[in-house]
Symmetry: D2
């Protein structure tokens, strides 16, 4: 069965999804697109051979020829569109964030619980990245013992002009919040946010440095540096009882030239996580074909958890103190 997918929003992320499905995923066809910018939707439809452009997001969701929906529209629309897809009992892959608040995430969860079925997945694609997968497999092998600490780093070349320290926590950090829970198999208990006194010269956003404790007792630290200057770089080291495991970014060649031996660092997330997106989207298609949810992927519950960490992080930064994180009781559906 070929899964017929509709994509809502074909900006940066939606276009990438469209091309990934069209160029590198088996068993899927992108059949319909929607974008507030109709010309953009039409151009993308032509590029990938999608047969229709929908008039509204809800029309796309309602389309009988559409089996499943990708939501890549502006953040504030995510919750409502996800709820609409659930109402139509269609699987949905929603770009992060799932909603604008933890409160709103609970609405999505409630809808799924009522339906008795998990239909929503959040696009925390790092769970499919081979480096994180290898890290978790090594830890789970037991060879190195229990996880004690997890050092994480997220760096961009530069932040857009409208970026703020708040957004470092609500926009960049959620990938870290999710992968920390995935890696440690544990929720986050509390968070303390630090910042250096100064941003990089001319930059409006200071780095954010967060120390978290997991419920399982591990200590986590995360650097979010949106103006790192040199490249897009994601690092991680899991410190266990008898050794450590570190992520390696994809590197295809090294060069000796001009008194240096060097490897390239990418300018954005694409080269770093292309494989993660491909594998996530392929797994999503396979899960739809098998009428099941993604065991490894992020559920609505995971979207809620990431949002809670972000909200606690904001409070910690504002108030200069450690903030505890209290989660609702987890519905059996997400066990």
């Amino acid at each position: 069965m070929t899964v017929r997918v509709g994509i809502i929003g074909v900006g940066l992320m939606g276009s990438d999804h469209a091309r990934i499905f069209a160029d590198a995923v088996s068993g899927v066809e992108v059949v319909s697109l929607y974008d507030a910018d109709v010309a953009r939707a039409k151009a993308m439809a032509e590029e990938i051979g999608a047969r229709s452009v929908a008039d509204t997001p809800l029309a796309l969701i309602a389309d009988k020829g559409v089996d499943a929906v990708v939501i890549a529209s502006p953040d504030e629309t995510h919750a409502d569109l996800t709820l609409a897809a659930i109402a139509a009992t269609k699987p949905v892959l929603c770009e992060k964030p799932l909603a604008s608040s933890a409160r709103e995430c609970l609405d999505v969860i409630a809808a799924e619980v009522k339906l008795g079925k998990r239909l929503a997945h959040v696009g925390f694609m790092r769970r499919y990245d081979p480096s994180y997968v290898a890290m978790k497999a090594k830890w789970k092998s037991g060879e190195l013992g229990e996880a004690l600490m997890f050092h994480c780093v997220h760096r961009n070349v530069s932040a857009p002009h409208f970026f703020t320290s708040d957004m470092a926590i609500t926009n960049s950090a959620p990938h870290e919040f999710d992968i920390v829970r995935f890696m440690l198999d544990s929720d986050v208990a509390d968070i303390t946010v630090f910042q250096p006194a100064a941003a990089a010269k001319g930059a409006l956003v200071k780095p954010v440095f967060m120390v978290m404790r997991s419920v399982s007792g591990a200590l986590i630290d995360v650097e979010i540096h949106n103006n790192a200057g040199y490249g897009y770089d994601v690092k991680g080291e899991l410190v266990c009882e008898r050794g450590t495991i570190s992520l390696r970014s994809p590197v295809h060649s090294e060069v000796n030239g001009a008194l240096a031996n060097s490897i390239p660092v990418p300018a954005d997330h694409r080269p770093r996580f292309a494989e993660a997106y491909r594998l996530q989207n392929q797994a999503w298609v396979r899960a739809i074909q098998a009428d099941t949810h993604l065991a490894q992927g992020s559920s609505a519950w995971d979207g809620y958890a990431a949002m809670l960490s972000a909200e606690a992080g904001l409070r910690s930064m504002a108030e200069g103190r450690t903030v505890k994180i209290a989660m609702d009781a987890k519905p059996r559906l997400y066990a």
Copy 2:
């Protein structure tokens, strides 16, 4: 248009191809399989959902429901089956070698020239490997100047019991012979083969060390070590006028443990070249949809060139001297 593929031979390589098409390639459906071992063909058909198992290779090729053919049957059948596919004007992806001799390769070339169309591709998938592609792109950027030398290494953990030094040249080295021509944009002019006095203890196959000169004037050396013991490892360094470019194998994580910092080396070619196979097969499907041949992939002519190098290598090893390589005039079809 979904390309309907038939696969002849579902042993090691054929099974890999079947799964790659089924799990990770867009726009393709594996519809028919053939294997001398019928049960094996049936099991694989079930696994990937192929609708039929053919009675004979020729029946598979003749099948009107089959648009294109993958040949992964025993080496001695490759030329005849490729000729049959060409006769049926169906695109064919033939695992290396294209034929049992350079002479026989010329028969395939003659058939294509007569038809006026390139239908055969040889599965020298390294041309799609991101590390070789990055190496060539860097060289072609001109930043480092002309290529002067190319150091190549191919290592397996251990050779099967029936392996010989001859097979190191005819079976393992062809991937090197092809990539050398691809990388340098030049044919090979001559070859000199060396061997150490001894193989690894208990091993029947000594390493083979080949020094070649390209028509363009570069010097190439290739180590083929089928009993390297420690892992599957392919290395390459292109030495240019102002610097060098080296391949990097895919590495996803590194571990600190027991007084060592280490990265894994794979036991076989799969982790090293998974991406190359996926990209080659995807490109092949796209080329069929566009009714063109693969610009980057290996043609029948390339299969002939690799075979010539292997035959010259055998002669050099037997006679202990440098052997010149003389190619036929290149038909315009392969320009």
Copy 3:
């Protein structure tokens, strides 16, 4: 002029110093040794050809044939012996810590200020380690802009049975406290100490994770992990405005074997910092010959600063809060 050195204490550190002077430093002769264990002192004197063994530390300091003194006796003796050497106007290289408290460090400082001469150096040898030196030089080159964050890691294989979390801060961390000030050219303003809930299994000492702010506004984090299991490992990454600089440990060879590519990690600090000790001790000899103090080395003031950080760290760990660090006014002597 050959500098005639006396060494007080020839346990682990003192023996190392004796051998470094005897085997790898120019312009120096170790002439006298003292140890509470006389047999140990005699054996070492014989090994390196020192002409005498002193009856008491004070006798060694008073010896007219001794130009300069190394103090490597138990920690609680450091301050008094350093004061005695200053009273005798002899240069002294004191293993860390300089004293048992910041208060006591001020006594040493007062003695030097009264004398109007800096005679005491603290053995924070990392200031001579080529990797830290390269890091600082790169930062100072200005190419990467101002320093925003500094990530530091210190790991031992395992802690001795008597070790405690307090000692992680007072015994292991001082090298970090000193190098942070050296690297950033700034004092530490405050410190917040975290610990994971659990130590490594069977270990009595949990890792300690410290977040500090420099007076200059940078954010520093330091992991002290005395039971890291896998090896002795010191890491550092200085995050600047336009890039980062990381330390590299000395590595002389790499091995491919058994499905892994690996480099050795040492079992203790010696292979990591052999060069730092050699260069520090050579620089100390040169400074004595030139009748000056070590511009790059740690002064009594630096010993005081490191002690202040440790005392604040202890308080932060005990009270679970950020602790500010207030330094005395810096005497002009240390400008």
Copy 4:
């Protein structure tokens, strides 16, 4: 006992030796210098505090205040000065080459045999380089089995204007010829020299690629590339039965900047082999103090062996064929 050293020739190499002894070696004093350029000798004497400048090389050798001699004068003087030092029964450290021909090396050997004592060492300092030492130790541990192949690379940024391909073999390659014998514990049986068709643009010296067979049966290949453009780089990989060992150059820091992660490559041999020179010279001083020869260092016999390889290499390059190497019978003195 302080060894009093005289240095003949204080150009590039002699100055380095003078400073190494003065700044980083224990138990030695440089007391006398000679150079054809008297001003240069005087300046260096002042810099390092040497008490005299000799009028002639022979006067320096004859000086009763000189215990041992370093020869760093022009190549053509090496043999005669070494013979003079042997005649004066003074230990001598001669920069490579030991003589201008293998024939002349045998004269030095004859003088030592007649004396019944090894006094001459050739400055093949790589035998003391920690990376080569680690490689040999790993091999000798037996863990990886016998050595089958040895890949070697020597690269300079650019050759001086008077350099020739012949000099690549006679001037640059001898370090490789010596280390190959040291590493494999075997002499070289034959050599085949290749060159690419072209040098780097504007360069007068093509790279030289040499394939050698050791008497023990291993296969060796050596790239000598004097116009590599990007830096000074020496590489080596020893391929054994169950794994490989590779050299690592000293690297103290790595930098992330401008879309690249890079480590520095030095512009000349100094940063690469500083430690090898220091350890060689220290070992030489220790051996003189103990009135013995250097077990690990290169003897006159080793100087002869390196010269034989170079002469055979020249013949192979000129005649385009494999050239066998026949050594004289080894005198018992060098057993």
